[in-house]
Symmetry: C2
Subunit: 302 residues, 2 copies
């Protein structure tokens, strides 16, 4: 059986005669009769009662016609749906986020904008560290991700620099370096932190930023004492509030207004900046993901 048979069958059923149905189907009557016969032979029962003045459906034919009609409609709907998925108007996209990237307004605003453009795409967000992001991208488990620093670059994962922002120092309130600042925004040089206890995000998870900070300190003439490593950047700020040391975070993290901490501008910030990158599969990005990635790039360059 082929869909042709169903289409022909329905045409005859609706017209009530072969001749007119053949006309509607832009074909001749004999092949139409023949195809219906073939169909009847295959399914094993008569669809029509042939009368000299036309045909009528048998009870079985009537039931079958209803189903065939429905099936053809459903097939069309199914094609349409799949087409929308292919065009990225429908479907699911999983986006990875490092906790620090999630704090940047660009990230949240971009995702919000995408939801407005593609309201029927389900957006799944997963908070992951940089290493997990690369891994899941390669495995196809997520289709895009925001992270700070591209590391562990492997075949098939691409990055796009979205923006760059300065790093800021996080000190506990009452820290000696804050004296004399008054109401003004406190400023601190990296060198001044040489004897502080540093709190950093764990290296395996975020090796890029970890390395950057160490390099900047080395360039400032000291090796920082790593008092504590934390899984996420907000945890580090919390520990600063608890007085366990100091840390360095991207400027956008200042939105996290933890009691007991003070954000300080770094003098000579060019030495230590915090980029924001989009990570995505290099080649076979598809569907809604492509739309999302294009939207991100638009918002950067446009």
């Amino acid at each position: 059986m082929e869909l042709r048979h169903l289409r022909y069958f329905l045409a005859v059923a609706e017209e009530g005669q072969f001749t007119r149905a053949a006309e509607r189907l832009a074909m001749q009557q004999p092949p139409l009769s023949q195809q219906i016969r073939t169909l009847e032979e295959e399914i094993g029962f008569e669809l029509f009662v042939r009368m000299p003045r036309g045909v009528t459906l048998t009870p079985a034919g009537q039931a079958f016609a209803e189903d065939a009609q429905r099936l053809l409609q459903e097939l069309q709907q199914s094609v349409d749906r799949a087409n929308r998925i292919a065009r990225g108007e429908l479907g699911t996209i999983s986006i990875g986020l490092t906790s620090s990237a999630a704090f940047h307004p660009f990230t949240t605003e971009t995702i919000r904008a995408f939801r407005a453009v593609c309201p029927e795409v389900a957006v799944e967000l997963a908070e992951l560290n940089a290493a997990e992001i690369i891994e899941r991208l390669a495995a196809g488990q997520i289709q895009a991700a925001f992270l700070r620093k591209p590391v562990d670059v492997r075949e098939g994962v691409a990055f796009a620099l979205l923006l760059d922002e300065p790093m800021v120092v996080v000190l506990p309130v009452g820290h000696p370096l804050l004296k004399g600042a008054g109401k003004k925004r406190p400023q601190v040089s990296l060198k001044a932190l040489a004897h502080e206890d540093f709190i950093l995000v764990r290296r395996p998870g975020a090796p890029g930023m970890y390395a950057d900070i160490l390099a900047a300190c080395r360039q400032a003439g000291f090796v920082p004492r790593i008092a504590r490593e934390v899984p996420r950047m907000v945890s580090g700020i919390n520990l600063v509030a608890a007085g366990l040391g100091v840390t360095l975070v991207p400027a956008s993290m200042q939105r996290y207004d933890q009691v007991g901490t003070v954000y300080c501008t770094l003098t000579n910030p060019a030495k230590l900046s915090a980029p924001l990158h989009l990570a995505y599969p290099a080649g076979l990005r598809n569907s809604a993901a492509t739309r999302f990635i294009e939207l991100v790039k638009e918002r950067v360059h446009g």
Copy 2:
């Protein structure tokens, strides 16, 4: 698009590669690739991501595969269902009954037997008079009917004699003709009723029996006085109970045990018998109706 495309598509989707799918489909790989390409061009999006070591479904392809699978299954179910309807195992049958035919055990038992044989056929019963039965049969509104006497025989409606039973006289209790019968079954000759008021079922509805009774009376040497005409036979018996006259009914009506009436055997009953007929469409009887009609005939002759 043809069902072939869906079948091929699902085979490739399940096997994960064209070569193996082609094998399973008992065809060669190139035409299979070609058919999938044709399908993709028609629906307007790619179903597979071609990889050197096989293929995987695109998100759109995945959605489409699920739907295609379901659609093919539903089509098969639909064919099966229609087939059962064609075989008369499933469906609906409308059966007409005159009220007097409905009283005969043959009628009720046959319908009960049919329901046991074809439990999935919905049996619709309609109480109709003989004229209505013929009309509805010709119009295809009912597919079989039980009635007493075939009349108004028209093209396309066939009859089968099922049985013949004697007519009995219905008298009100205390009627002079019942004197002397004692405990025995009372017997009455037609001639003895010459001066009684007759209650008959309306002629237009049941012209056969009406004519039979008149003919029998004439042969017995009198013209009956028709005191009242009723739409249904049970109404006639009720009127006898009310003392409005006498009536003649088929023997099986004695199951209707109305207080105030006495059923009397007719002497010389051969002159006036009540047949039971099956009426059915002559030519184009179909589906469950055929099974029903065959069952009826079996129960008569077998």
